[in-house]
Every structure is written in C-alpha cells, then in structure tokens.
C-alpha cells in the first residue's frame, strides 16, 4: 500500500467537488495519515472551474499540489479533466466522469467545446478510467449522486479502511441521505471492478 500521495478532484461549481473532497480527506485522516486539503470558495463557485487538492502522507507541509504531482486526477467534467491534466504525474491515473458542461463562451457559440478531448486524454495518460456517472446517477434517482458514484472508484485505490470510508461519509452527509449515498459509492466501486480496474 502507498504511504503518501496526492489526489486532485476537479470539475464545475455545483458538481459536488467540495463534498467529495471532504469525504476522501476525512477518510484518509481516519486511516492515520497527515492530510492537507486546499480548495477555493467565493466567486469561482458560480459555475466556474473548481478543484479540491488532497495531499496525504506521514507529514505534509504545503496544501498545494504541484504540476505533475497528482497520483490520481479525478475529473467530474471532461473539459476540466483536460484543463488540469498537467497536474497528473506521468504514469498516474485519470478517473473521468464523462459529463460535459459547456462554459459561457461555448454556450454563446463563440468557442467550440473541443471534440477530440477523450482521444487526446487517452493518448496522454497511461491509466485512464472513464465512467458515465451521469447515466448511473439518473438510474439511482438524480444527477446529485454522480459525485458519490465517481468517488466510489477511489475505494480500491487508496489505503483507506472500509470503516474509515463509512465514518467519513456518515460525518459528511445528512443522516437521511446516508443510505442512498452509500449505495452510490458502492455503485462507483463496482464500475471499476466490472472493468477490471
């Protein structure tokens, strides 16, 4: 098992990046690591590009992930995956929720949403896991579960115990939604298993 690392979660304001970041960082803390998390609130949250940086290990100083440092880049949106790709360590893994959300220049028809991003991401990464979290989330009852499904893919990839995951989820989500979110998390984990990830 790895004893230190960096996970970068990226997407668009409103996709639940903050919650996903909170859960994985708490789960790492509960597994005995020093953890530092960096995120930005405020104006950027209004539909802008958002991120959660998680660094863990025996002792962590800076909360900022450097370019080429992330062991895992977890992108909840395709364009944001492309934007943050340089933060991924060569040989690191890109976990990609295939949702696309057009930014204003695209909505206005002034710029195109690049059409070849997936093939470029495939070319440039050694490990790529794609999942249609959007579709799975709708099956479960709504788009709001997409973040937990995507997060579930981390389960087998990080040195976090089952009970640490469960405690972290329970502490981060209102009681009445815990069961359905646990289900979403498991659904994400199974996606990986099915694809041999």
């Amino acid at each position: 098992m790895i004893d230190k690392g960096a996970i970068l979660l990226v997407g668009v304001g409103g996709q639940g990046i903050t919650l996903a970041t909170k859960i994985v960082s708490l789960a790492l803390l509960k597994s005995g690591f020093d953890v530092k998390v960096s995120e930005i609130h405020g104006m950027a949250q209004r539909g802008g590009s958002v991120y959660g940086m998680v660094r863990f290990g025996k002792e962590v100083y800076s909360p900022i992930i450097s370019q080429g440092e992330a062991d895992i880049l977890m992108a909840f949106e395709l364009l944001e995956a492309a934007r943050w790709l340089i933060y991924l360590k060569p040989g690191g893994e890109l976990i990609l929720g295939e949702q696309t959300i057009s930014p204003m220049p695209v909505l206005l028809g002034k710029m195109d949403y690049p059409s070849d991003l997936i093939s470029q991401l495939k070319d440039k990464t050694e490990k790529l896991l794609t999942l249609n979290a959007e579709e799975l989330a709708f099956e479960l009852g709504g788009l709001k579960f997409a973040n937990m499904i995507t997060l579930g893919t981390l389960k087998e990839r990080l040195p976090i115990t089952q009970s640490a995951w469960e405690d972290a989820i329970e502490e981060s989500i209102p009681e009445r939604f815990i069961e359905i979110n646990m289900k979403a998390f498991e659904l994400g984990r199974k996606q990986i298993m099915m694809r041999g990830g």
Binding site: H41, S66, Q67, M104, Q120
Partner: protein, 576 residues
C-alpha cells in the same frame, strides 16, 4: 483529531479562548469564521452592516468586558481603518482580536493589498499562522497578548490558510469571566490632550513589544546546520518547507513587530539568507532597513499567491515531470450568474438602454461580463452610488446617462451615505438596489434587510423604501426583474427624470428559493435561431451549430426570462 479549515479553526480558537462576543461583515475568504462561530452558543456572534461598525461594536464589547473577535477581509480593514488607528491609542479592556483575511491572487477580490502594512502604520502587533492548528492557537495567543499589552491585536490570514483544511487537536473552552468596566476618560476619550499622552504610551508599548518578540515562542528557529537560511511566515513557510529541504528556517509567527535580535543571530554564520514572503516585501524591507543582508523580491514574485512550483522557478530549482498538456485551445470557464438569477433581467435591460452603469461589489459584478457587458465600473463597496453622482456632476451632458447598481447587502454596507449625497447635492442619479434578500456572493449570509440575525433569530428588517423616502428621494419604485418589459420601462423613465430615483428589485436570490418552477424548453419548429435568448446569459441555454438551441431542463429553474426575450414564442414551459 479533526480536519478543519483555517476559518473553522479560528472559530474554534475563539470558542476555546473564552471569546464571548464576535462581529464582522462577510467577505471571502473570511466569511466562514463567523458562520462557524455562530454554532457555538457560548459566543454571541453578529453580522454588522460593515467592518467599521463591526470593529466599533467590538471595541464596545471589549470595554464592556467580553473577550472579542472581529472578522473581515483585507479590503474590509480599509473600511475599519478609522477606529483601528485610534484603538491602538486607547487600548482595550478585555482581549480584542481583529482578524483580517488577505486574498493573494484575488480569487474573489478587487485588489491584492497586503494588510501587514496596517500593523506597521497603526502600531498594532500582528500574528500570522501557517496552518489550521496554528490558526486556533494563535487566536488564543492574540487574546492573551491583547490583555497583557493592553492593545488590539491583528491576526492575519490569507485565502490559502482560511480555505485549506489541516489537522487540528481540540481543547476545552477556558471560562473567562467578564471584566468589569471602569470609566477612564484619559484612556478612552481621545481628545487631543489625552491622545497626545496616549501617543507616547503607544510608542512605549511598542518598545516593550520589540523586546518581547525576540524571545516570543511563536517565532521559531529550525536550524539545519547548512549555509542557507530562509526567513518566512504564514502559508509561505509550508511551501518553502516542500522546496528547501536542507535549509535552516526562521518562521515568524509574529510579523509585526519583528524580532531583530533573533533575526541577527539567525543570519550569523550563514552564507545566504532569503526572505520568502507572499505579496509585498514587508519583512524584507524592514530587515534590510535594519542593516541585515538578505535577498527576497530579487527572486520571489511580488504578484499573486506563491506555491512550491513558483518557488522552484524563482530559485531555478528543478521541477518534476508532468503529463503533457492538451494541444487544443480550451475554452475558459468564467463564473456566471446562476439559472434564475434575478440580476439577469436588470442587466439585460441596462445593456439595451446603453446607460453608463456604475457597478459595485457582489454577484452582480458579473453583469460586466458577456453577454451583458452592462457595467462600467467596480471600485469598492458602495462606490457606484457616489460615482454616479460625480459622473453627472462632471458635465450636464452626462445627466440622465448614468445609473448605479448595488446589491442589498452592499447598499446597507456603504450605499446609504452616498445616496444622501445625491439628494443633498441635488443630483438626479438613478440608484437600482438589486434586493435579492441575502448577501449572495459570499455564500448567502443574512444582513439588516433580511429580518434574521446570524444567530438565527427574527429581527426587524430594514425597509429600503421607507429609508429612501426618509433620505428625501422623490421617486421610489419597485420592479419585478423577471418582468423584462416593466424593468426596461421603469429604468428608462427614472433615468429621464431630473430628480434622484431609487428602483428596488423584488426577486430573491435563486439559491434561496425552496422550489423550482416548471422548466422551459425550445420548440424547434418555431425557433428561427435569432439567438436573442443567448443574450440573457443563462447557463441552461446552449447553442450548437448542428443541433440549434436547447434548454437543459435539469439546470432551468423556470424563471421565464428567456421566454420573454423570444419574439417567436419558441420558448415554452415543458408541460404545455
């Protein structure tokens, strides 16, 4: 062990440190401190109308005997600067900590000022933590210093400390009895004859602090035995520890006044000593002026946040390999007004009317961006109202051409006095108050107009119409910003009048609505692709050259503004 943001840790530190009163005004990155503090029922916390009021209420609470915390962002300290400088003269009764959060890189701010200069110019000691645990402990230290030295104490955070989460070990609350207030005219009444004496006392206090800091345990030396030394503080310490693994460190927990004795002994015997600090050369200038040889801004950027990579670049150190970048140009993703945002209708109308729009600080500053581009200025909280008057005063040719737009919370913060100026000095400006019933940009905080306090109690709400009437505004009207026709007509009529006008919008922030209305969709048969619906700048509406226009029903909240823009009745409620 908990994982707390710096802001959560400050709130916890206030609780543990026996603070029993707190006041502030929301402002990124400081906002969550008071929000979190309001969860501790032992601390009576409040949003004040602005930072100056917050500090004055805080001074009153300190005199009244309560350990007090006052919070604000960096530009808020400008607003509070007047009482700040004289509070340094009077000193305090119970401990008073003024927390100021700077925003290097301007993630959510209009400037990048370095608040450390306030400490030096007001002669108030300043502490700066480098993670959440320190934030919590330094707050308690600051309370103690405040009482030991009879001075307000500044505690400086930056965005990266406020919003990063790190490990925190919790302690219990220390019960601090309320101090008795004793009338002391010579101490608290800053008539010139008293202030002259207090000025001397202030300088004497600074001399005591300057001695004290040389052995203060918040200033820490980590001697690694090498030839390289780093003097740093705050978040930059953490970045530098990643990069300069073999260097010795002097980590300053107190950034004003500086421990020159300690710095001199740290520098001794080292080949090179670098001052690594974010923003201005605050430490560096003082250290150099003291005759100590160091390097700083010769290498380290003065603009924006620092990071381990920026430090590697500055010192020509190698960086790790990274995955290669995508070759296609990527469209940027600027922040935008939410679906159903009531500001949309106003900016759509202002764009059509081609008025000069004196803007202000809030979500509505996004009205300056495409597709509206209906804002000419954004300077400071409340500034647009005064600027509208000045613009008209410049030449009679400008009469009726300028309007001010200002949010409800911003209006209460500092838009009222310039509105009085418009009436008093016989202006004819039109002031549009975008009353969405909340402080939206910072994450939906209550304010005097909402009828609720930070502690969740009902209170009397400020009535903007009656206020404008009492100020003497002759023409006061309300508009529904979802009704584009009414919005456009009202603004047009009011700007044509040669007297001051106030227009108040009446729709709440879309993020505080409990339920969505029926979403809309585009009838492809009627749609002519004129693209006028794109001009409302709604993230639910998109255009694709192949597929035409479409509305994402998951994003649409059913405000219907786009349907009112469509001349071909091609935008219909989904059910119909």
């Amino acid at each position: 062990m908990e994982l707390y943001s710096g802001n959560e840790a400050i709130a916890r530190g206030a609780y543990e440190g026996g603070v029993s009163f707190a006041a502030g005004y929301p402002g990124t990155p400081s906002t969550e401190i008071l929000e979190n503090l309001s969860d501790y029922k032992e601390v009576n916390s409040q949003w004040s109308p602005n930072e100056k009021v917050a500090l004055e209420v805080g001074m009153g609470a300190s005199l009244g005997g309560a350990r007090t915390l006052v919070t604000m962002k960096h530009v808020g300290l400008n607003v509070a600067a007047d009482p700040l400088f004289t509070a340094a003269y009077t000193g305090v009764n119970a401990g008073l900590v003024i927390l100021v959060a700077d925003d290097p890189s301007m993630h959510s701010s209009q400037n990048e000022q370095d608040s450390r200069y306030y400490a030096r110019s007001s002669l108030i000691p300043m502490l700066e933590p480098s993670d959440s645990q320190e934030a919590k402990e330094y707050l308690k230290e600051a309370l103690k210093l405040s009482e030991d030295f009879d001075t307000p104490v500044l505690l400086r955070m930056t965005t990266r400390i406020s919003h990063s989460k790190t490990k925190v070990e919790l302690s219990d609350r220390t019960k601090i009895p309320i101090r008795t207030y004793e009338k002391d005219i010579a101490k608290y009444v800053m008539l010139p004859q008293n202030a002259r004496q207090k000025r001397l006392n202030l300088l004497e206090r600074m001399r005591r602090l300057e001695d004290f800091v040389n052995t203060y345990h918040l200033n820490q030396v980590e001697e690694a035995g090498g030839e390289i030394g780093i003097i740093t503080s705050g978040i930059t310490y953490q970045h530098a520890k990643e990069v300069f693994k073999a260097a010795s460190f002097l980590k300053l927990g107190m950034v004003y006044p500086l421990p020159f004795g300690l710095i001199e002994s740290f520098v001794k015997g080292k080949k090179s000593v670098y001052v690594v600090e974010e923003l201005e050369p605050f430490l560096e200038d003082a250290i150099k002026a003291h005759g100590i040889k160091v390097l700083g801004k010769e290498l380290v950027p003065r603009v924006g946040e620092l990071s381990p990579d920026i430090l590697r670049d500055s010192f020509s150190l190698p960086k790790g390999d990274s995955t290669s970048a995508i070759e296609t140009p990527l469209p940027p993703r600027p922040p935008l007004m939410c679906p159903g945002c009531p500001h949309r209708g106003v900016f759509h109308s202002l764009n059509k009317l081609k008025l000069t729009v004196m803007g202000d600080i809030g979500c509505y500053t996004l009205g300056a961006l495409a597709p509206f581009e209906a804002m000419d200025t954004c300077l400071a909280m409340g500034a647009g109202v005064g600027m509208a008057l000045g613009f008209e005063k410049a030449t009679s040719a400008n009469l009726g051409k300028a309007v001010a737009v200002i949010g409800d919370s911003t209006f209460v913060h500092s838009g009222i006095t310039p509105l009085i100026d418009i009436v008093y000095n016989k202006g004819a400006s039109t002031v549009i108050i975008l009353d969405n019933r909340i402080t939206a940009m910072t994450g939906r905080q209550d304010h005097p107009g909402t009828g609720r306090t930070l502690m969740g109690e009902e209170t009397r709400a400020l009535d903007f119409m009656k206020l404008a009437e009492a100020i003497g505004v002759g023409s006061i009207r309300t508009i529904d910003p979802y009704d584009l026709k009414q919005t456009l007509t009202t603004i047009k009529e009011e700007t044509e009048k040669d007297e001051p006008s106030v227009i108040i919008t009446t729709r709440p922030c879309a993020l505080i609505l409990s339920e969505k209305e029926t979403p809309f969709s585009i009838d492809k048969k009627s749609c002519t692709r004129c693209l006028s619906c794109l001009k409302v700048g709604c993230p639910a509406i998109s255009f694709d050259k192949a597929k035409g226009l479409s509305i994402d029903a998951n994003v649409c909240i059913g405000c219907g503004v786009c349907a009112k823009v469509c001349k071909f009745s091609a935008i219909l409620e989904v059910d119909s």
